[in-house]
């Protein structure tokens, strides 16, 4: 019953939030209407969401979010400095390969997205069997350090969230 009419509770919740964000008010009307939509739209789009994702552990999500936020801020400043003050010739740009332990496509995508959003690294490709990420670093004298950083800071947490 629940499964049938509310196939993705988390999605529905997210949509309700989105609706409130859109309507830009937290009123009874908005919530009711948002709730209706939050039920209907997942039903309509259910076929696009075949049995995934399995997400749990809200605390882990929040922790991950905060870590990423902080990293983004820091990395932004660093990269801004690189762009503004380093001569381009002295930048050690290179591609590094990050082998993956994650298997869920959602998790991989989130990881790749996180890598990109933290300035200084951009995910530019994935291996065909989705077991490695190709990451381009703007300035990475220490390639292995970057890989370790990624695996430690992000992948580990994502593993907790998704699996």
């Amino acid at each position: 019953m629940m499964k049938r009419y509310l196939p993705h509770p988390l999605l529905s919740l997210a949509l309700l939030v989105v609706w409130i964000l859109l309507a830009n008010e937290i009123s009874a009307g908005a919530v009711v209407f948002g709730a209706i939509l939050a039920v209907i739209i997942p039903l309509i789009t259910a076929s696009f969401w075949p049995d995934r994702p399995k997400v749990g552990n809200v605390i882990a999500i929040c922790e991950y979010g905060l870590v990423v936020m902080w990293d983004i801020l820091v990395a932004n400043v660093i990269v801004a400095g690189l762009i503004l003050f380093r001569k381009t010739e002295t930048l050690e740009s290179k591609c590094v390969v990050v082998p993956l332990d994650l298997t869920s496509p959602e998790a991989i995508t989130t990881l790749a997205g996180t890598i990109t959003m933290t300035p200084g690294t951009v995910t530019i490709d994935l291996s065909a069997d989705a077991k490695s990420l190709l990451v381009h670093c703007l300035h990475a004298p220490d390639a292995q350090g970057v890989i370790d950083d990624i695996k430690d800071r992000y992948e580990r947490r994502l593993k907790e969230i998704f699996e």
Partner: protein, 954 residues
Amino acid sequence: MSLTLIVLLPFIGAVLPAIMIRAGRNACATATGSVTLLALILLMAKAPAVISGEVFQVSYSWLPELGLNVTFFLDGLGLLFATLILGIGLLIIIYARFYLSKDDPMGRFYAFLLLFQGAMVGIVLSDNILLLLVFWELTSLSSFLLIGYWKHLPEGRQGARMALAVTGAGGLAMIAGMLILGDIVGSYDLTVILQNADLIQASPMYVPALVLILLGCFTKSAQFPFHFWLPHAMAAPTPVSAYLHSATMVKAGIFLMARMWPVLSGTPEWFYIVATAGLVTMVLGAWIAIFKHDLKGLLAYSTVSHLGLITMLLGFGTPIAAVAGVFHIINHATFKAALFMTAGIIDHETGTRDIRRLGGLLNLMPIAGTIGIISAASMAGIIPLNGFLSKEMMLEEAWHTMWLDQGWVVPLLATVGAIFSVAYSFRFIFHVWLGKPRDENLPHHPHDPPFGMWGPPALLTVLVVLIGLFPAVIAGPLVAATSSAVIGGELPEYHLALWHGLTPALGMSVIAIVVGALLLMRHGALISATANLSRPDAKAMFDCAIAKLVALSRVVSDNLHNGSLQRYLSVMIVASVAIGVSGFYAEPDHTAGTRELLDVSPAAAIGWVLLVVTSIAAVVMHHNRLLSLLLVGVIGLIVSLGFIYLSAPDLALTQISVEVVTVILMLLALNILPKETPKESLPGRKLRDGVVSIAAGLGIGGAIWAIMTRDLPNSISAYHLANSKIEGGGTNVVNVILVDFRGFDTFGEIIVLGIAALSIFALIETVTQGEAAKRLASWVVSNRRSADRHPMMMVVATRVMLPLSLMVGVYIFLRGHNEPGGGFIAGLVVSVALVMQYMASGFGWTQNRMKVNYHGMIGLGVIAAAITGASAWVAGLPFLTSGFVHVHLPIVGEFELASAMGFDLGVFLTVVGAVMLALAKLSQVERMAEHVDVNLDPMDHDPSVRIATPEKEA
């Protein structure tokens, strides 16, 4: 009433032969003949009264505003011609029954013939010159059909076309002339016009009218210099020649000159044009006739000559000459019809019409011979036949006529004409009937034809003799009645008699006969003497002229319409700039505007720079198509930013949404099209295009500058602003205008979208046929392709975005009435969300999950909008009238429900349906070209599933 019936009968009868032909040839001929006979009887019933001076008239209203009415009248002139037409027509019908072979479609022949007959009767009985024109042109058309009756003969076709062209041209000239005439008099009624001779001749438009009308007459009656078509019309079957060229069609011109004689004649212009043309035609026609070896050719030119004679008589402008003309009309009709039929008999019996192969036929076919000889003698003007009488009268008149103050010109030329006339008539007698057979190997062995063929000419020949012997008795009353109708006043003194004493005319006659006979005796020498004279071949000249005309037309037309879109567009653009500028400067009344201008903010200036650079770059780099597309996208972005800056949020939203979908469409297209535009424009071309474009830009820029610098006058939009909230129930005035004030525009607009999608669908559905399918089948993917079709990251992200986007779509839709948004933008948002799925996950996978039929959506959308509109009818209000209520629900609170939302929903559905249908269809072509199959997997590789068991969903 019966007058109308006389005209109508042949037309009605024209249907009969086509039906009756199935009943056999005799039945067909009988039916046709009885129709004509009936008309003739009706006519004859009126003859006595007409001859005694009565005029019958009948009138029906047809197009009174124009003065075009169906009015007929019957006076002496009409009677004469109608009798000739119907009488000879009847004879021809009988004759043709026997003349036409079994292979000839007789039904068609009789139908055309009756059509023609009706048209001719119409001409001579019309009391309205516009009606007369109708019949006039009808004769041209029906004679076209008759002349071209033997359609397998090239001569027939060419002759028919030539006749149509010449007489048609004359007819057109006559239209103008008649209209002028009607304008002068103020009426198109012939009877009225005939009363107003003074008015007409005093009018400054007299000469143009005269010339135009005469053009019609001369072409129809084959007067010099329009005589050339007649001999070529001889390709028609002989009954046609006999009918058209003796008594009827060619006489139409004569008829009209006679008809108009009271009002047009008597002026020097009339005399010099008509008499001269007649004189020249008479002499020229006769001269040419001498050299014709074809029997019908000889007769044709003799007809030309005789028509010239009559024309000349009418041209003299004196009553007595007119009488002579009228008399000759009768005489010519009798002997010429008989002669044509005789020629037809000869042709029919011997299989040839070449005089050089004939001879001594009198012995073989005595009856036909007798008929032919008598008629030809009449044509030569031999006493005591009717031809002699009228020729005498003609010579008599010629004797008195001064031409440019010279007394000798006309008599001399008239005599010369008579000499030639005698020569060719005698030739017809001596070379055909008398002497020895010249060719023993004639196609057929000649003998007298059946009665049906010789009866009609025999009857006419009897008339020839009788009129000659007892002119006053037989023809007198008719001539008198006709002449008085022609002259329109008192008849002059004249005698229809064989003997007038020793007059100059008699002397001229004698000279003509003697010299003519001498000429014939020296015929061989004459032919060899003139063999080297260049004889302009009228047909060749005509053909050449037409060919030149056609070639010239082709040059003009083909060079003008060279198939180059560039030319068409540049002409159009130049024209629009020119007409706009000319309108602007038509009067120097423009004043510069006084509106206070806005300041330029730095951001606006930067936007402007962006726009300028990207626009120019789009032109400069247009050879790289992808790049130009990219640049267009940027321009769209800037334009929508501009809209936002300039207080038009709705526009900006629409612009950006449309932009994206357009880009996707164009990318789909570009995949098929070449990726580069070759550099093929020459510098001159570029310069020209540049000038044109700059002109267009300056024009439009100048216009908008002039507009923006002045204040807006009182606009109707003030009302929209004032009533949007109160009456329309929405605070977004633009949206209220769209769905309410001008909802009908939007209704049309969504239909445009729907049609576009349907057309796209239809266009692509046929791609599987013909050349396109072959090209697609042999398509080679040239570019390097990435290996992963559906990058995993993208797939995942777009799936997350789908519900979000739908949410946004709903949001945009719902707020449209009060805030920027609305059904259209929402529709595009949703479409784009769906397109994203197509792009990320592939067509097959997505399509399998879309349970929506886009066709249905379009239809549903339009119907939803229409039903919303029509629901106002229930309330007795006009289409699309919207209503709104404020609904109060617990928890949710108050919100507004407007019927306009139903309309907007229709918009939404149509937009989504149309966009998706178009894109889905277009992508189908791509797949056909790429030779790749659709993807059914959620993504190329799903690491969590560990391959090998691809999920399959319905």
